[in-house]
């Protein structure tokens, strides 16, 4: 097993510990943001594991887990946890309902796509992120070296496409940008905003640092995924591992009690979120 194949397993292990840590907090505190973070992190971990598995062998249900949880949903759920922490307004509950229903709808669309997966397009030679989508070629456009092509009917026209695992025009693929945009804005935006608020007030440096680390971790995986989809997959597994480590470190740093709080915490339990 190469180092590149090992990295996603290490990321999975880090995410597993992180998820357990967050869900333990939820079991004690019952704050909904811990629940959404925990579920989102579990999705991230499942996606990392699926990616690691798919670097070694094919399994269509592992691909289901990878796409639904790893590529589509996890960022939105983690980010929604951040939104629940930052705002306790009623409209947030509406977004919670939209997120849950949207996730169920994405799962339904993914289930619908399952019988049409093109397993012949799969290879263990490159990350699944680089080969999951069928891409239509523009007229005159040449396919990348080594790519498998096919002629398919798409929207009533015959087009040449680079073969991918999900068929051309799979509706489930349309859902992914919604979750990822929402996740980016809430997770990264929320962490940057929190860090800025504490920094501006010149208080709680651990929260400033923690939020910077969380934002950097989320951007690390966001950037690596984007580069992968543009055909530069070399940094994906490193980006994933970096994201897992930075976000966990950020969470631990932000949650660490400060000396002044620590000495009085049993008597006056201030909000530590």
């Amino acid at each position: 097993m190469s180092l590149n194949q090992l990295l996603p397993f290490v990321s999975t292990a880090v995410m597993l510990v992180f998820t357990i840590y967050v869900l333990q907090r939820y079991s004690v505190r019952r704050a909904p943001h811990f629940l959404f973070w925990g579920i989102g992190l579990a999705m991230f971990g499942a996606g990392s594991f699926a990616e690691a598995y798919l670097a070694l062998a094919w399994n269509k249900w592992v691909f289901f887990v990878w796409y639904l949880f790893g590529a589509a949903l996890n960022a939105g759920w983690i980010g929604h946890g951040t939104l629940l922490l930052l705002s306790r307004k009623k409209w947030v509950h509406v977004i919670t309902a939209v997120l849950v229903l949207g996730s169920l709808f994405a799962a339904y669309l993914m289930l619908q796509a399952m019988p049409n997966l093109d397993e012949g397009a799969f290879t263990t030679g490159k990350p699944v992120s680089e080969q999951y989508g069928t891409k239509a070629l523009e007229s005159g456009q040449t396919p990348p070296a080594g790519a498998k092509t096919e002629t398919v009917t798409y929207r009533g026209e015959q087009v040449t496409a680079v073969r991918g695992i999900l068929p051309l025009g799979s509706p489930v693929r349309l859902t992914t940008p919604f979750f990822n945009i929402y996740g980016l804005l809430t997770l990264v935006g929320g962490a940057i905003w929190s860090a800025y608020l504490f920094w501006r007030k010149r208080v709680l440096p651990n929260r400033v640092l923690g939020n910077v680390l969380i934002a950097a971790g989320a951007l690390s995986i966001g950037s690596a995924s984007t580069l992968t989809r543009l055909g530069y997959g070399g940094l994906l597994y490193v980006g994933e591992l970096l994201a897992a480590i930075l976000m966990f470190a950020g969470f631990l740093t932000a949650a660490r009690p400060q000396p002044a709080e620590e000495s009085v915490a049993p008597a006056i339990p201030v909000a530590t979120d």
Partner: protein
């Protein structure tokens, strides 16, 4: 969470932990990082929106 506590008391407790004064990390590095990360976030959001709108093909 802490609604039953005296807000002034809570605020006082919170503000006991201050940023170190004259720290290069907090005075220079963190603000630059926040701006850079904000810009990267906006670029990634624009990319995802471009995919959604069919402007970016991948």
């Amino acid at each position: 969470m802490s609604q039953s506590r005296d807000p002034e008391q809570v605020k006082k407790l919170r503000t006991r932990s201050h940023m170190p004064q004259g720290s290069l990390l907090f005075e220079k590095v963190i603000p630059v990082l926040l701006v850079v990360m904000g810009v990267i976030m906006i670029l990634l959001v624009l990319f995802a929106a471009g995919v959604l709108l069919g402007i970016v093909h991948f």
